[in-house]
Assembly symmetry: C2
Homo-oligomer: 373 residues x 2
């Protein structure tokens, strides 16, 4: 049995060539020219002025939130609105910056933050709305723009799962005061581990560069006026990113074709498939998630186990933030149910979705999925 | 004029081959087999049971200190003894873990922590002594072992600058309850950016692996009982490390030969050179530092400027921790002078010391250094 992994990247462009250039030139640290090129090219693709490459997508958010907090003089315990259905990285950056996350239910169709539920959670202490585009379909941004304007809030955009995606005619990654990306191996554009912060605000750009490099001073390296982190991306990571970015358009097309094929092959299974489109975007299918119908007698965990035994890798959906044991311990949980996201966790998981997935493999996966029902 | 940079690594072994293997196999994230191999081989070289590869040397200390604090139930504001003459990374890990650093003067000959000055700073709240082997010469560990035993303190060993070094018959990196390394491009063994935690304590090993991977649970990935970080090392970083490690012995020999050559060529300049050896170790010359004599009319900053203008790259010595503006702001500074380390900063800097430095370049550098006096 050939196991089909949940993700395999496509690395058959200039990745080797550029890596070899790093080795030949001796530039492997964060000072190399691929880092600058990757920052420039990726930010240009996304329509923001500045890019700050970092070690991964999780630390990208840590730096982004801190830069915002400092620029706008937010106080400790000020509040940031965030979706409950997301990865912990989005939310822990709020907490690590001594701000308070406020968890919002998600939409049952798009799985993104339910924008109709945001306003009632806004208080005088709210400073920002963090949106996280989920699994390849953007958040409905217009209501977010409207609320941000009405209440003078900043937008933090976690676009890790929405490379190259657009909301109407706006690019994902260009809609936040700061926007962040991950280039983990399962992302459209990968550097193995890697991340980037985008902004068009020069002050935030400079602050992020300062914070990610241990707050070294250019003219007096080891004297510190602040504490930062070493969150630098290396030139070898960026070399892979530059090669990947050359094929950005092609990769998006591949993902969309895969998603379409899964949609066709799985149209009649007793599960909800991703929304193929909304009135503001077509799905890019970063991953192809399915959510078991109520009449299916087993839950996602069992389904994933069955599929694993039949040679198909899967990954569970996010566990909602308002239910995390760590947040209960930290008194960050309000004990109010958010049933849509709770059900998504119980009933949802995603199928092999990597760029190296072949049509034959999609057919095998789909056939296997049908068999478990 | 050909500028001689302060560091250029040597990457002419199997680096390309292993990087190409990563690309061919598709394993570029932290899950790849080079990560496991690098952890196994490097920890074996250093004589500790377990290695935990991370994104860089700074975050290695963050994870190491947290693992110790949690295992031994240290309280917030408990104290950790640390050298004042070190990089900020060592000390900020103490602060980020809500512990209090206590800064100790350094020795004028070895530039390491002055072990005779530690005991008077030990209080009932002291929990650990952090040693940082400076510039390739180990700390005098016996007094540290004695104090650790007498007061029941843990030893945290920052061995970033002492790859392959020994203290008497003990390996650097094997003397701490936790020991940490950096594989930045200027280190003996480099991965561009990279780091590792070593320990022989299984509980700490498991805790570090858990903390560095966002506290994901193996059987329930997205449910979190704790908050961690994404501090993972990628397979492409580790691939470079594995290739480097194959030449570990050779690299140490090169560095020692370079140091010896500098010692010969600079023996009569009006500056203190590194101690070639002590009664417990021979210098490995991670970098070749010099400290201007008092009768030299200019300070390190001016000397570095003169050398830069003549085509020689240098880097300043560390600015002592007890004088950092950020620690004064945070009330972590006691306003007591530590004149040895203060003088080292004013008068010290280091010369080009990378593994790719040729004998001819060492001669040019030495000639240029002699010219500035």
């Amino acid at each position: 049995m050939n196991f089909i992994p949940v993700n395999e990247p496509l690395l058959n462009g200039n990745e080797k060539k550029y890596l070899n250039e790093c080795i030949d030139s001796g530039w492997i640290s964060s000072d190399g020219h691929f880092v600058k090129k990757f920052e420039k090219d990726f930010s240009a693709h996304c329509g923001q002025k500045y890019g700050i490459a970092v070690a991964n997508g999780s630390v990208a958010i840590d730096v982004a939130v801190r830069a915002l907090k400092e620029k706008y003089n937010w106080h400790d315990d000020d509040e940031v609105i965030a979706p409950t259905f997301t990865i912990i990285s989005s939310v822990q950056s709020i907490i690590y910056n001594r701000l308070k996350p406020v968890f919002i239910e998600c939409d049952p169709i798009t799985w993104n933050i339910d924008t109709s539920k945001i306003e009632s959670f806004i208080t005088p202490k709210t400073r920002a709305i963090m949106v996280v585009h989920i699994y390849g379909l953007p958040t409905d941004m217009q209501p977010v723009f409207d609320l941000a304007k009405k209440y003078d809030l900043k937008i933090i955009e976690d676009a890790a799962q929405a490379h190259g995606q657009t909301y109407r005619d706006m690019k994902c990654g260009a809609m936040g005061c700061v926007s962040t990306f991950s280039f983990y191996a399962n992302k459209h554009v990968t550097t193995g581990e890697g991340g980037m912060i985008l902004t068009s605000d020069e002050e935030i750009f400079e602050k992020c560069n300062y914070l990610k490099n241990l707050c070294f001073l250019p003219d007096n390296r080891f004297v510190h006026n602040d504490l930062g982190w070493n969150f630098r991306m290396s030139n070898i990571q960026a070399a892979v990113g530059v090669a990947q970015l050359e094929r950005f358009g092609e990769f998006i097309k591949i993902k969309k074709r895969m998603g379409k094929k899964y949609q066709e092959l799985l149209s009649d299974i007793p599960a909800r498939l991703p929304a193929a489109k909304t009135d503001y975007a077509e799905n890019h299918y970063w991953v192809f998630g399915i959510v078991l119908n109520d009449d299916v007698k087993f839950n996602a965990k069992t389904a994933m186990k069955k599929l694993f035994e039949k040679g198909v890798g899967t990954r569970p959906f996010f566990y909602p933030m308002h239910r995390q044991p760590i947040f209960e311990k930290m008194n960050l949980s309000d004990n109010v149910s958010r049933p849509v996201s709770e059900r998504l966790y119980e009933r949802g998981f995603y199928l092999p979705s990597g760029l190296a997935l072949t049509d034959d493999q999609i057919e095998i996966v789909s056939k296997t999925v049908r068999e478990i029902f």
